[in-house]
Amino acid sequence: MKNLNILLAFLFFSFASIAQNVEFDKNLFKDKKDEFKAAVKNLDEGNKLLDYAPFPLYKQALPFFEAANEFNPNNADLNFKIGLCHLNSNMKFKALEYFEKAYKLQPTVNTEIQYYIGRGSQLSQQWDKAIKAYEAFKNTLNTKTDMERIMETSKHIEECRNGKKLMVKPVRVWIDNMGKNINSQYPEYGMIMNADGSEIYFTSRRPNSAGNSSDDFGGYFEDIYMSEEANKEYQAAKNVGEPINTKGHDATVALSPDGSKMLVYIDDKGDGNIYESVRKGSEWSKPKKLNSEICSPYHEPSAWYSPDMRKLYFVSDRPLSGKGAPKDKDIYVASWDAKKEIWTNIERLPETVNTPYDEDGIFMHPDGKTLYFSSKGHSTIGGYDIFYSVRQDDNSWSTPVNIGYPINTPDDDVFFVVAANGKDAYMTSFREDGMGEKDLYKITFLGEEKQPMLNTEDILLAGKGVTMREKVIEPKIEIKRSSLSLLKGIIRDNKTKAPVMAAIEVIDNEKNEIIAEFNSDPVTGKYMVSLPAGKNYGIAVKAEGYLFHSENFDIPKESDYQEYEKNVDLKKVEVGEVIVLRNIFFDLNKYSLRPESQNELDRLTKLLNDNPSIRIQISGHTDSRGSDSYNKDLSHNRAKAVVDYLIDKGISSGRLEYQGYGEEQPIVTDTEIAKLRLPQDKEDAHQSNRRTEFKIISK
């Protein structure tokens, strides 16, 4: 009797543990007729939305299916459909449990159920389970008739293998939601920024958009919003309004490094093109479609400027022949023709970058070399992953590198921008802890792990009893340096402080070559330019009616990303005004002019030629190291060398005086230098004291 009870109990639990498919059959729910009717109605409604043409409306179907599932949770087909809805929604990771349940209830629920279990597992980062399911699905396929499906499944298997590898060493990052000033319960995506990240723009589908209406899918039209950084926080985002935002969809594409030009995407009735808007002060011009070399009859969803604005990288699905059906999306580059004012000379980036799969979402870093893009090819772990490739000195591109987990996920990862500092990046992501829908996230790259330092000590000599601290060799530090710096500032009148539109030249002093020419904003006087590290730069600022202003500075190769703020107050041509000639150079302890002084001397010559009535005094100054008499002689001879140059260039000697002041007139006093903490700061202070100046003594 006892044994029989045990057997019955075993059989009961065995049957109970095998779930069974429960059909929506009224005979099975005789005592719940009303509820059954309601569930069937929900099921029918969901099915209709799933069969909606031209696209199934998964998001809309899901609540109906979920309501039906609440009544009958053990219907295999319904579980499968809920899985499908999740798979095509933001909550992709929820799909797996429904596919698995559908399979458990009825293994034949769908001929592709193993494929979907694979998809669900992959999206849940359960790589081994995904590979197993994909393999099982592949085994059901016919190698002659299902080749495309076999290849697709094999690719997913490869993606899972990539995922396994990538997760072994996650990238050290902080990922932070950008907060309520930026994000909302509606979708936010496609953030773009100027080089220093002081201004950001993004696309959002919120109520009160320019069109204030929704599209066929129930979502609000896209509009572009902007936010400015203040006190290290982005302020509440504002709709940029007209003329950038229109009644239709308006989406961000790119921003020039100085924030003076914006590229926007306009659907153009499905054609999809890139438009450009130009800013003066805070006003944006009406976006103008880029020329037809860029905006082809095919789809161009993404583009980005090179920092010198001489190149435009863009994405297009145009066929290689230029005719016929579109192909997969690839990355192209165009050159700016300054005379014709068009983008021309279109080149497709090589196969190193472009794959047989889609590339999209490009971003050219302000270093001008590192191209970030999303790709469904390369070593993706699923969908689009973000990669970067670096343009080499010979113009080839390095093998793209997957930027790693957790930035990349098995879902689509696009819209990735990196600040000039190389440490902060921004992405669009849907996360459970977000504010609803897609949100913008800030990624802070932490770099290589900083190794802590320890000390040990031993009593080496028993006969001395003195502890000796072991010499610790400090570990090597892995530093991924950003190879550029940002120079930015405002050009103003030195007396009225009114912004001035000035022509700015940046000179590579070693090559004695102008590497950038640009103007400050006519309304705000602001300018910004990114410069590669490892060079000595001269900067000349010129504006009509003002004395030119020059600066000189080094960006050491070993230095990390730096932002240099050079606000320049231009002086009018008036008696008594003094200008430091920062780009006049002498050899150490000598007074012969170095060749790289030529640009500065020529600017001075031009100033004297343009203002034939002015007389100037050239003065030489040294730092306080060395004897007074030596410094005085050296500064005197250096001032004379400048005057000799000017005379040689045809300036009358009667207009020129010179004086050597030695160390008498420092910009930074010795007392102030003594207070500086770091040796480099002290050296910089001495450097600023070594200078050549000119002063207008009559007009």
Binding site: K423, M453, L461, A462, G463, K464, R469, L678
Partner: protein, 363 residues
């Protein structure tokens, strides 16, 4: 009647070696026959000398000085009376007179190696290293089979970082006294400084073989194993050190470090905590504790341990550096920058790099 043999008590040597915790019991008293000058010294002088020796033995140093002085008055070339009076002056902390007497004694009798040795010790105590080395050398020339003289000179060479010469002396020392554990330990450390780690290991093993309570040698053995990357052997050696002296904070700190290097951070934390339990002002162990917490991403605990290390030693660069690392991970970037700047000022190169190559410059 034949007079008793003259006695010399090398008490100063005993005192010195007791300071360095070496047991010299076998040398506590040395009897020297004055065979060379005995016949030239009057009986009265010898009697005064013996009275002086007795006074020395009974620690009546002033009385000893008087007795030896009388002996010297009676026999102005009585070298050993000068030597013994030198000892008495040493005890009376009258170094000047002691030096004078020791010097006079070797002028009278250059074979008086003990006087050279005492002069060497006095020179060493007054940081006159070169002079001390010379006196030890003279002692060795006078008596080449005394392992202590080689040993003492070896220590000086070691401190002067002349490891080759130190090694030679420690080798002479242990070859004269084959069970001399200290000698093996010191030669082991010399080999360690010469980066001859295998030889160092052998020496430390010999040291522990001859003295299984010599914690220092176990510790050193562990540290050389650690340098060689043989972390299990290192931990075993530290275990032995702790078996000999369970509350040795150095052994705990070092074992913690070995465990840290092995990646066993939780066990390392236990050792570092035990070290600070024993020695609550042990800044190194607090700093190391912080390092282990950093590896376990326990940044608050790391910051707190660094606070303690800095509280003990406010010029401890690594503690500032590590606290900077912890603060950065706690997202206190400005705090991290301040700590790295301070660490950089204290000479931590890595801190300077992080300070220069981080957000610190753009705060």
């Amino acid at each position: 009647m034949k007079k008793p043999l003259y006695k010399l008590v090398i008490c100063c040597t005993v005192l010195f070696f007791s300071q360095i915790q070496i047991s010299w019991s076998q040398d506590a008293e040395t009897i020297v026959e004055d065979s060379t000058s005995q016949n030239l010294i009057s009986i009265e002088a010898q009697e005064k000398f013996n009275a002086g020796v007795e006074a020395l033995e009974s620690k009546n140093y002033e009385q000893a000085v008087d007795a030896f002085s009388e002996a010297i008055t009676l026999a102005p070339e009585f070298s050993k009376a000068f030597l013994n009076r030198g000892y008495a002056y040493t005890e009376l902390k009258n170094t000047e007179k002691a030096v004078s007497d020791f010097t006079r004694s070797v002028e009278l009798d250059p074979t008086l190696h003990q006087a050279f040795f005492e002069l060497a010790l006095i020179a060493e105590n007054s940081d006159q290293t070169e002079k001390a080395v010379e006196f030890y050398s003279q002692a060795i020339r006078a008596k080449g089979d005394n392992y202590k003289y080689y040993y003492q000179r070896g220590l000086l060479y070691f401190e002067a970082e002349d490891y080759e010469k130190a090694k030679e002396d420690f080798t002479s020392s242990v070859s004269l006294k084959k069970d001399f554990a200290f000698g093996y330990n010191e030669r082991g450390s010399t080999n360690r400084m010469l980066e001859q780690y295998d030889e160092a290991i052998k020496d430390y093993q010999l040291a522990t073989l001859h003295d299984d309570k010599l914690v220092i040698a176990f510790n050193n053995l562990g540290s050389v194993y650690r340098k060689k990357g043989e972390l299990d052997n290192a931990i075993r050696a530290y275990d032995n050190a702790l078996k000999a002296e369970p509350k040795n904070h150095l052994s705990l700190n070092n074992r913690g470090y070995a465990k840290f290097e092995k990646g066993n951070y939780a066990a390392a934390i236990e050792d570092f905590k035990a070290a600070v339990q024993i020695k609550s002002d042990y800044a190194y162990a607090y700093n190391n504790l912080a390092a282990a917490h950093i590896k376990l991403e326990q940044f608050k605990e790391a910051e707190s341990a660094c606070d303690k290390a800095i509280g003990i030693d406010n010029e401890y660069g690594y503690a500032y550096y590590n606290r900077g690392v912890a603060k950065e991970m706690l997202r206190n970037v400005s705090g991290a920058c301040n700590d790295w700047l301070r660490a950089a000022e204290l000479g931590v190169a890595a801190a300077q790099t992080y300070y220069k190559n981080s957000d610190c410059n753009n705060q």
